[in-house]
Symmetry: D2
Subunit: 322 residues, 4 copies
């Protein structure tokens, strides 16, 4: 294979740039040409592409966001759309594409792979860490450290009144961020989508904490699927416990920032592996890491199988904080 | 004066510890004894006091929060309450007290000063920067840098869709944080309590930005006095402009964190000045800094006069960002 | 076992406090009593010990350093010294001790274990990551992120002259920090103690970079065993290449700071596991993590076997940066 | 004036980009055209210039370094060199130039102004803060906060042995960084070029600290003019006091990083003021801020007059730390 494409797709994640750099430089090293497709799959429709050489990816390893920009592309969801995209890639003599993103992005790749002889490999990059088959996704470590800093700051506040802080972190369908941040931040409670929330039990845990002499409690809440559920939870608790409750919604700030060492190293390793793979004819998989070893996960697994939250950790956290 | 007290009161602010350290060490240097009164004025009622020597304030200059803890004390609002507090101070042979806090805290000090021969000096410490007569309050610089980091992270996100980010910062009655963060963060719009919000105008400014090619806009919003007004604003804009809008509520995380150099230096200078002042019989004032020089502000001014927001800066910011 | 001790020993590492917290709270949860031994093994000689309950370890999970302080204890190196230490532990009815530190610390534990019926378990905590048998030690992740920040800042500087920056990181005998920081920071060269430095080759690599148009190059250097070898290297390169060279020596600042999420989670997991282990009669081992799973490493292995640096990563880094 | 140039010169400083943005956008707002001259004055010789519109300076307010790059230009030091530079500017129809840099940069501007009818205004930007007539230079606040973080990390280390840490900060000829960092970091001693160092007195201060029970002391040292003087000082103290001494050399990392709020606001204000000034025919001055007010400082003052270090602060710091 002489010419490959690379794109970033879905919600952006810190470390995507480090991955692009690794893909480009390792491909160039092996004599291949790399085309950067801009704004995710949308670049296949607008033709917004750019040749990437070694210099083009200089000084980006430390940058948040993605120099290629990202998007969610509606056109790719139809057969006609994909046909256009496939044609464009063929016109450009691009035989393989490294797709850096989440499971939604891999669906598009899988569909195009089925409908053509183009080769795709995925690299898991999303702050949510909800890609089946890999222990970590690119961006997760940065996001949890960002959220953790927020919690550390809240810990500093020293008002003498009893107070409950609700810190909403990202995670619509999964609680990986909430769990890790909760453990690392020593949160009193962690609310995740994987487990139904028992508000009464939450109140009694918090009440028990105040009884033992705690001045303030921190509850980490994954944003979940219901609009403003953290606000509602806070209102409920304030009303029931007659203590002041305060809400922080971290939102998109978790998606930005310079990637941590871990995210950059993971991005670099997976980027090299994906390039090696695709240049050697490997395709149809996501390149991940499990137990410290490279693994290839079939595209399909990433949306058909659900990565499980570590329930043991959830219990440990409560045991330590409670 | 041989023996002075020191307390922190109201919402806590980064740099309070640096100020306590300066008060204690400069007083000790001059041969005076310092009593730390815990949990703000509440310590006068509970008797929760502690002698502070040089070692007691070692290694705190960099810590957020306050080692003396803070509170809002209801008992001090009645004549009977203050009588008790005054008696307690007299029993302890404390002749003067350095009060580190905001204008609410200075009211209590002023009332006790009127009703006794005790001496009080204030040091302005609140992240809101809304104390009349001083250019900056302790904690403000740290809070704006914290909020700024959040905005920088949001800037990194690179989704290709049009989007408006609303970032709610602290400031119930004043927009100092919002203004400074907005300028430093290059925000498209800044919403402050000092100026009525014209939602239609906000929408047209944002629309104009999108028309010019902006992908995303950032609106910094002071929390203001109405519950959830940022949420409502975001809903309104999303509905009107048909673009996705996202909300971050920074909340109490702005109150924590290690103080910046500026806050530590300000806290140190004002702490030394307040100690010098009170040991030399100065009282009834807040020690502040205006135009780089130490000033003494009568207690009364801090709640009777309103510190004005710099309207010129507000306009400049829009000019640069628009 | 009803009563256990916990101590931190050797160079301190971020995350030690998170580990102490986990040991204390999980032990208390299981009905055991925990004694904190202060200043490492020295506390066994001075008797500087303190009972630790749940509250004693509140609000420390985010703190750098160690609340128990650390030291390197000479007295423990003699049989007589250890006899005294053993007696002290027996007097205190302490049957088992969790030792948080590096391989030097485990030697002391192993020797006492041989000379008594006391039980010891180790938890690997050192920023150097040079403990055989565990993938990561507590403190390593924080240290590399700290060093990485330094490198990112240097990258920002934009002088138009050709320049080589030498950044010295910790690592007397091992290059784990240098390697990880070098990869994550995109360094042009990484100098590690595991590999002899060929100054001529270094010069030719750097020269080649300048020839290709690089304005500045970054060389990450592990401090190694020779005094001021980074300074000497910088002088040499400046002289040979006729380019300006600049040196940063990060030194002890890599040992401090609030631990990252990863270090806190690792510290928490290993702390719980060590407590579980020792209360269940497990001893003579270090509790580590390999490939995501808990492992028990015999004390002896930690000083008899050498953890290997990943040579593949070293080459990859150069391939990407060169 | 219809067309102005802007350049950054000398050692780069965080906030230069925020200043470029303010110059460009406020000039465009007033109908003027802005040419960015790259690599400082060197761009006048190489012709490396670029038209800057509003979009060109989008998303740079938070970036360290300078998008225009910087240099020290030898050619400008001769009359012939300046003649060439002047011709180039005239060819380009550039009537005025905003020079963002330190006193060395203003010398070049002043010379060209004397030898032509071109107009120049300066904006003080250097981390050293050693520009006469302005209270602060752009970049100073960021640099001290960066250095401060390093000191805070060192404070965390908890070895029980007596130890002296020497932290070398930037400042060849002036001690502004050292002083501010020393006060904010609670350093035991501050070594500045403005005051001869008495090593015996340093030793006795440190000895006195150990005698009082201090475990470790931090000495902040401005780099000064002698090569490796911090290293030598550390050796001397180690030898004399028989305590371990450790050295951190922060070097260029102080020059990078995202600018603080204060630096961005200062850069924005001064950038707007310089543009206003030059478009209204003001020239031959540096635009600074003194006591919170805009001031115009004659170019000549910046190299003929020496900005004084605040000796009172130096003494205060020692009083508090000693």
């Amino acid at each position: 294979m002489q010419k490959i494409g690379v794109l970033t797709s879905g919600g952006d994640a810190p470390g995507m740039n480090a991955c692009i750099r690794a893909v480009v430089r390792s491909a160039v090293q092996k004599g291949a040409e790399v085309i950067g497709i801009r704004r995710g799959y949308s670049g296949l429709f607008s033709g917004d592409c750019i040749k990437l050489n070694r210099r083009a990816v200089a000084n980006i390893i430390q940058r948040g966001g993605t120099i290629l920009e990202s998007s969610r592309c509606e056109e790719l969801k139809t057969v006609e759309g994909r046909k256009k995209a496939i044609e464009f890639l063929k016109q450009q003599d691009i035989e393989g594409v490294v797709v850096i993103g989440g499971d939604g992005s891999f669906r598009g790749a899988a569909a195009m792979a089925e409908e053509s002889d183009l080769k795709f490999l995925g690299v898991p990059a999303t702050i949510d860490n909800d890609v089946y088959g890999t222990d970590y996704t690119i961006g997760f470590d940065t996001a949890i450290n960002t959220a953790l800093e927020a919690i550390d700051r809240i810990r500093d506040t020293a008002d003498a009144f009893e107070r409950v802080f609700f810190v909403e972190v990202m995670g619509r369908l999964s609680g990986f961020i909430a769990l890790e941040v909760g453990i690392a931040g020593g949160a009193e409670e962690i609310i995740v989508p994987e487990k139904e929330t028992d508000l009464e039990k939450l109140c009694s845990t918090l009440r028990e904490g105040f009884r033992k002499g705690k001045r303030s409690s921190i509850v980490v809440v994954a944003e979940g699927n219901e609009v403003e559920h953290t606000m509602q939870m806070a209102h409920y608790v304030q009303h029931r416990l007659k203590v002041s409750s305060r809400v922080c919604i971290l939102g998109h700030l978790q998606r930005g920032g310079s990637p941590t060492a871990r995210d950059r190293v993971l991005a670099t390793r997976l980027g090299i592996a994906a390039t090696d793979g695709i240049l050697n004819g490997k395709h149809g998989h996501v390149v991940g890491e499990r137990n410290g070893k490279l693994v290839y996960i079939p595209f399909r697994d990433t949306w058909e199988k659900k990565k499980e939250l570590d329930k043991f950790s959830l219990e440990s956290c409560k045991m330590l904080a409670g």
